[in-house]
Amino acid sequence: MFLANADVRKVARLARLAMGETEIETARSQLSGIFALIAEMQAVDTRGIEPMSHAQDVSQRLREDAVTETNQRELFQSLAPKYKGAPQVEAGLYLVPQVIE
């Protein structure tokens, strides 16, 4: 399969990965090699085969709709003093760049 730099650029944006032009070019050539490997799978006839996600074919267990977690915000925002916890917090909130004018 052939990938163009534009495809790689689009995927990098979807994946939220900043990439320069040289990185895009390297990624294009490496991803093309990997997709050539993956392409071996396309020729297999899988009509009538059920997709498999768990070996025991168990379905997701359900539990009571009840609160099981305790509020640990203070702990999460001030981890061991030796290391930095959350990158930026203030008054119990996680800070990010302004998104609303």
Binding site: V11, L14, L31, I34, M41, M52, Q56, F76, P97, Q98
Partner: protein, 489 residues
């Protein structure tokens, strides 16, 4: 002391011939001496380990010790351990101190084991050589110019160098078995769902499974007894009765039917590895086993299928690393999207980014059916091959890896070549079966390079860990490959 089995260490501790503090200190001194070269540990915290050792000594003195009480065990840095730096081999988590314990860590704590430190690994468990770790590559103690395998390479190297009594690993496509083979130790990946994934940093959730790594099958059984068990916090954890994985160790192997997949002995397998594996099979015949050729016709598709499913799941799991709640955040950015993109670009290494890109692509609009769904269907075909094969045999054996340990940097530029080093292990994860690797000899020495360890892979049917451990233990009673130590160690 460094050559003792876990059972011998436990007996010595319970008989008060040695204290846990003394034993832990012996290992810490050894780590201080050898780790600067091997780089098997990312984090060692002597005060924390010794505090645990003192608590274990109190428990031993009170006479309520467990099999593992007081024994120092290294933990792969993928497991969250409360108060410990937990990096997963990534710059993204360079300052993440876990506020909670993974289920596996809690089980070892309950057993009174001592956490000796966090072992190095490929970043987010993505790699087969340990070269993708942000904290530098791990060296193979048999030849420091060579890789230990990956992703649990730090654990494997630490065990081979006697820098811990045993360790944990995780295996998504071979990450316990391949480094175990390359470092000449024993490692077991249990049936998917047997060990809880809670607190184990997720890579590919439908394949990830934790397991023990040690010097012998007997040690693995003791460790698995502590690790296995239902946990409601992992939605794929299986509800099963508790079992003693050591119960069948002593059984003779008369009548054991071994299946040899012809696809595992075909083109691509190094001659010296084939030779050692064939010698191991001959030893099994002597022990009373019979051998039958089997076929796993779809196993050749396991690498392509894996490189769709694992990256797809990884791209979703790793979307949580956004530089907001924990982990790395880029120093400069213009707006929210720019902060995400730069934090992730700077916090993740090249291999992790590559896999996120593959996963994002195969899951993107218009490609889902052609890639993810098709891969899940072939995954069933691969699993059905094994079901068919187990009608004719009790265990399947073959090589763990196509070659012995390769040189650092040897496969650096070519991701596809690196991916092919897991060609015999990946199908086992896709099927969700248990698999293990035990040492079965050494490869050819050439050009002054020493012969490196070879691993024998043993694949069992679902929940057949006790039988696999039996087969491995009987072989280890008859041979001494598992007790060999690297020169100078």
């Amino acid at each position: 002391m460094f050559e003792s089995s876990l059972q011998q260490l436990g007996s010595a501790l319970r008989a008060r011939q040695i204290s846990s503090v003394e034993l832990t200190q012996l290992y810490l001194d050894r780590i201080a001496k050898l780790n600067p070269e091997l780089n098997a540990y990312i984090t060692v915290s002597p005060e924390t380990s010794l505090a645990q050792a003192r608590a274990a000594d109190a428990r031993l003195a009170a006479g309520n010790a467990d099999a593992l009480t007081g024994i120092p065990i290294a933990q792969k840095d993928i497991f969250c351990a409360k108060g410990w730096l937990t990096t997963c081999g990534s710059k993204m988590l360079h300052d993440f101190v876990s506020p909670y314990d993974a289920h596996v860590i809690a089980r070892f704590n309950d057993a009174g084991a001592v956490n000796l430190g966090k072992t190095n690994m490929d970043e987010f468990a993505m790699g087969s050589s340990n070269e993708t770790s942000h904290y530098g590559p791990v060296k193979n103690p048999w030849d420091q110019a060579r890789v230990p395998g990956g992703s649990s390479g730090g654990s494997a190297s630490a065990i081979a160098a006697r820098l811990c009594a045993a360790a944990t690993g995780t295996d998504t496509g071979g990450s316990i078995r391949q480094p175990a083979a390359l470092c000449g130790i024993s490692g077991l990946k249990p049936t998917y769902g047997v060990v809880s994934r809670y607190g184990m940093i997720a890579f590919a959730s439908s394949l990830d499974q934790a397991g023990p790594m040690a010097r012998s099958a007997e040690d693995l059984a003791l460790l698995l007894n502590a690790m296995a068990g239902f946990d409601e916090r992992d939605s794929t954890s299986l509800q099963r009765d508790k079992e003693d994985y050591a119960r069948d160790l002593a059984k003779p192997l008369n009548g054991l039917r071994i299946g040899l997949p012809k696809e595992f002995f075909a083109e691509g397998l190094s001659g010296d590895v084939a030779h050692a594996v064939e010698a191991a099979i001959a030893e099994y015949r002597k022990l009373g086993a019979t051998v039958v050729e089997i076929s796993l016709p779809n196993s050749k598709l396991s690498v392509p299928v894996y490189y769709v499913l694992a990256p797809a799941e990884a791209s979703s799991n790793l979307s949580r690393f956004d530089g907001v709640r924990y982990g790395y955040r880029a120093p400069d950015y213009t707006d929210l999207a720019d902060m995400y993109e730069k934090s992730r670009a700077q916090g993740f290494g090249a291999e992790v980014k590559r896999r996120i890109m593959i996963g994002t692509y195969v899951l993107s609009h218009g490609y889902y059916d052609a890639y993810y769904l098709q891969a899940q269907k072939i995954r069933r075909l691969i699993a059905q091959d094994f079901t068919e094969a187990f009608r004719q045999c009790d265990v399947i054996m073959g090589p763990t890896a196509p070659s012995t340990a390769f040189k650092l940097g040897e496969k650096g530029d070519d991701p596809v070549q690196m991916y092919l080093s897991d060609i015999y292990t990946i199908a086992v994860n896709l099927a969700g079966l248990p698999g293990m690797s035990i040492p079965c000899g050494f490869g050819a020495a050439n050009n002054g390079n020493p012969g490196m360890p070879v691993g024998l892979q043993i694949i069992g049917n679902y929940f057949d860990e006790a039988r696999m451990l039996n087969a491995a233990h009987q072989y280890q009673l008859a041979t001494d490959w598992h007790s060999r130590a690297p020169n100078g160690i």
